[in-house]
Amino acid sequence: MQQEVVLALLAKEPSHGYELRAQIERALGPLGAGFNAGQMYVTLGRLEQAGLVSSTREAVASDRPERRTYELTAAGRERVDQWLSDVTWPRPDLTNFHLKLMVAAAQRLAEPLDIVAAQRRELVRRLRDAQRAAMAEPDGSDAALLLEGVVLRIEADLTWLDACERTWSDGR
């Protein structure tokens, strides 16, 4: 679980850990089946250590487990903004991008369509670079085959971005 997703979920208002968990599970649907609930608290703990979130304990009846409300720090907020505008695509982590769109929309942090467009620009640029490189290769070169693989992968990602755009522009 990416830390940034959790951070972004806290961008608009402070929240309990279990609410954050429920939100992520809703967004992932069946893909969220294997989601480890404990991981959420581990992540929150690390974020707190890094000074990106702060937490306050709520006063509750003594027979119930304690509840913590998490809140973004200024550094955390900055990190969220950075993440939203980040277009690196090291390995197409579809879940992450998908959650980015969901969170951005739910928290009204950014227009998902803009995120898609920015991502597409970046991917097209990469596609162009890969394609030019592929075409510069002589016929039958081994590298051309590998480059073709890269091109096809980016192409698939772009196709998915199109799908994202269609869905998000249908007034979600």
């Binding site: 990469r126 162009r128 890969a130 394609q131 490189a133 192409e155």
Partner: protein
């Protein structure tokens, strides 16, 4: 210095009242010499209409179209035809080759129209076919060519009069991926040689031939971005592709 192609406040509407379609709605675009521009957008957003207007195949309802420094939107059909002949090469999705003419006869046709001698035209056509890698198919009828070969013939035909700009409407729209690569290779070579290109497409790979990408929705531009200089070497791409 204005670009090879420039459109200002361009508009083209179809129908009226409730059925009014703003196929092109107040569009500005300037394509510089040697630039490769791709226009993308969903089906029906007005890409073909815009391209037709830029090539003077249709008259706009408003706005200006300039080609090679001349305004063409209000000139006579005849003047526009001459301008097209000398400055614009068209490539279409459906190739539009003349079925009864061989590849080389198709390619030489615009040169003949431009008044070159039949020998000059033939020489030029043969050279271009060689350039698109079809010298062996020069004598074939289109029916004997594959889709990619047909489109390469069509591109050669569009280039025979050395146009200032090549306008292509879904040039790979009827092609499978192997044939698409044939055509893209050719576009890439043209671009590298400084040919000004305007390509309408919704194919990702075709779009990736561009230096600049224009996105269109409902007749208007929603983005117009330069893809910037090439940033990555082949090695970087490979690592980018395989990085965890």
């Amino acid at each position: 210095m204005s670009g090879v192609v420039r459109v200002v406040g361009l508009a083209k509407h179809y129908g009226n009242g409730n059925a009014l379609v703003r196929a092109v709605d107040d569009v500005d675009l300037e394509v510089a010499t040697g630039e490769a521009v791709v226009i993308t957008g969903p089906s029906g957003c007005g890409k073909s209409t815009l391209l037709h207007l830029m090539g003077g195949l249709d008259r706009p309802d408003a706005g200006e179209v300039w080609i090679a420094g001349r305004r063409i939107d209000h000139t006579s059909e005849r003047t526009r035809a001459r301008l097209r002949r000398d400055n614009v090469g068209f490539v279409f999705q459906e190739f539009h080759l003349m079925e009864e003419l061989t590849a080389v006869e198709n390619v030489e046709l615009p040169a003949l129209l431009a008044g070159r001698s039949s020998r000059q035209a033939r020489r030029r056509a043969t050279a271009l076919l060689e350039q698109v890698g079809l010298e062996r198919q020069a004598g074939h009828l289109p029916s004997a060519l594959s889709g990619g070969q047909k489109q390469r013939v069509a591109i050669a035909r569009a280039l025979v009069n050395e146009p200032a700009v090549l306008l292509a409407d879904e040039p790979t729209g009827s092609l499978d991926s192997a044939a698409t690569i044939e055509v893209l290779r050719l576009f890439e070579r043209l671009r590298a040689n400084g040919q000004t290109l305007v390509v309408v497409t919704h194919d990702q790979r075709t779009a990736a031939t561009a230096d600049r990408m224009v996105g269109m929705r409902d007749g208007a531009f929603v983005e117009d971005v330069a893809l910037g200089p090439e940033t990555a070497s082949a090695a970087q791409i490979l690592t980018a592709g395989s990085r965890e």
